[in-house]
């Protein structure tokens, strides 16, 4: 169990962002985390990465509690936030070196070259991040998330802003990483779920409305596409 979430609840004031959700994921699986805007996807991810504390319930990553052992959690998680915040005045390699230094990597130069190769940043690696297009910035974010070879990857809409050619490459990369790691990714693109995910969790208004393998969900809704399933599960209460 690399991620174990039990009765996780987060209140923003009186509003429940997520309401007693429970799920777990295993290594070697890519879990798609789906839901309409404002359903609580990003909130859940922020709790899992130890950025914000939950109101109640527990969450563990690789056996470490996200509140009491947050340093261990942060060491074993690679996180790409939805907004992909970057220091725009830094050079690509400089920012990767900065992250590598935080994680105290032993051979940062070699590892930086590896992730630049993996994420296809090669042609843009000598530019400042501020000069990059959105798709390339997204790759920098992804490179930062995987640079310390984490066991768990939490990717909040990793493919937003990528062009179709880049999409194929990044999905391929996520699949490869998913062979050995635990990956949770959120997305609004249902073809992407078909293309990369093994398991699917659908969340609506803070509650889990479906949690199964991709095949299981499709079998349960005979003949429907992922898109139709998503709409039928999440639109009823809106």
């Amino acid at each position: 169990m690399s991620i174990q979430v039990t009765d996780l609840t987060k209140l923003y004031g009186k509003q429940k962002a997520i309401d007693a959700i429970s799920f777990s994921t295993q290594p070697g699986k890519v879990t798609g985390f789906l839901g309409p805007n404002g359903a609580g996807k990003s909130t859940t991810m922020k709790i899992l990465t130890g950025f914000i504390p939950q109101t109640s319930g527990t969450a563990t990553v690789c056996g470490f509690d996200v509140v009491t052992q947050s340093q261990e959690v942060k060491r074993s998680v690679g996180y790409l936030p939805e907004t992909n915040p970057q220091y725009l005045e830094m050079y690509v390699k400089e920012s990767l070196a900065f992250i590598a230094e935080i994680h105290k990597l032993h051979n940062p130069a070699k590892r930086i070259a590896e992730v630049i190769e993996q994420t296809g940043l090669g042609p843009e690696q000598h530019k400042k991040i501020g000069q990059l297009s959105k798709g390339y910035r997204q790759r920098v974010g992804l490179a930062q998330a995987i640079i310390h070879d984490p066991q768990v990857l939490i990717l909040d809409e990793p493919t937003s802003g990528l062009d179709p050619n880049q999409l194929v490459g990044i999905r391929q990369l996520i699949r490869e990483l998913g062979q050995t790691k635990t990956i949770i990714l959120s997305t609004h693109i249902m073809q992407e779920v078909d293309a990369v995910c093994d398991d699917v969790i659908i969340i609506n208004q803070g509650k889990i409305v479906a949690s199964d393998t991709l095949q299981g969900i499709k079998d349960g809704h005979k003949g429907k596409t992922m898109e139709q399933i998503f709409i039928s599960l999440t639109s009823s209460s809106v």
Binding site: K46, T49, G50, F51, I52, P53, Q71, K74, R75, V77, Y79, P81, T83, P85, Q86, Y87, I99, I102, H103, Q144
Partner: protein, 225 residues
């Protein structure tokens, strides 16, 4: 970039005050001392240090890059102390070039070397501690908002009040007997400037800095944004 401009502005204004403007000029003053340096610098620091610190946390929050830092294996303490030391280093770099003024006055003195070196060393230590206190205020102000201008304004006000506000209050008739001036930075700064490094003054500055840094930690830990 901000740092270079701030250091440049600090040195330029200080140079004008010390050598060009007649009212505060060392040359017009007639005595070989750096008194006007140490009486002018706190007021320059009051504006320039908030300019350096206003960005530190406010911008991280606004741009979301704080999430980048906070989800890495770093504690909030490491982030805050890192920011604090970075800003303090800029203050130190602004102070270092002014050492040349000491040499100038030392040489201009009649006879040569007629300057109270002990007082100068004390004053530099005092000025550095004062800078440290202002940086702590600035980092704190930067943590309570994600707007840099607000952070700057609050920091300038707090610096001014902490520096001379208590002095002024203590002169109010009804408050005269309470020794309010002891809460202010100026009282302790003056005391160190005399060249006597009293542990009480040192303790004052260190606890002043600690209080503001600890408050910043509490605010960041709340994650109310």
């Amino acid at each position: 970039m901000v740092a270079y401009i701030t250091i440049g502005a600090f040195l330029l204004v200080l140079g004008l005050f010390l050598w060009v403007f007649p009212e505060s000029s060392i040359l017009e003053y007639g005595y070989s001392g750096l008194d006007s340096l140490f009486s002018t610098a706190p007021y320059l620091f009051m504006f320039l240090i908030p300019a350096v610190t206003m960005r530190s946390l406010a911008e991280e929050r606004k741009e979301g890059t704080f999430e980048l830092l906070a989800t890495r294996p770093l504690t909030d303490w490491q982030i805050i102390i890192g920011k604090y030391l970075a800003c303090l280093l800029i203050v130190l770099f602004a102070l270092l070039p002014t050492l040349i003024y000491y040499y100038t006055v030392y040489t201009l003195g009649n006879p040569v070397g007629n300057i109270d070196t002990g007082a100068v060393i004390g004053s530099y230590i005092g000025l550095f501690l004062l800078g440290g206190a202002f940086v702590a205020i600035g980092i704190f102000a930067s943590s309570i908002t994600n707007n840099q201008i607000i952070a700057f304004t609050i920091a300038v006000f707090l610096c001014f009040f902490a520096f001379s506000g208590f002095d002024s209050l203590s002169q109010m008739l009804s408050l005269q007997s309470y020794g309010l001036e002891n809460f202010g930075i100026n009282e302790h700064y003056q005391s160190i400037s005399r060249g006597v490094l009293d542990t009480r003054d040192l303790l004052y500055f260190l606890s002043f800095i600690a209080v503001f840094v600890a408050t910043t930690k509490t605010i960041l830990g709340g994650r109310k944004w």
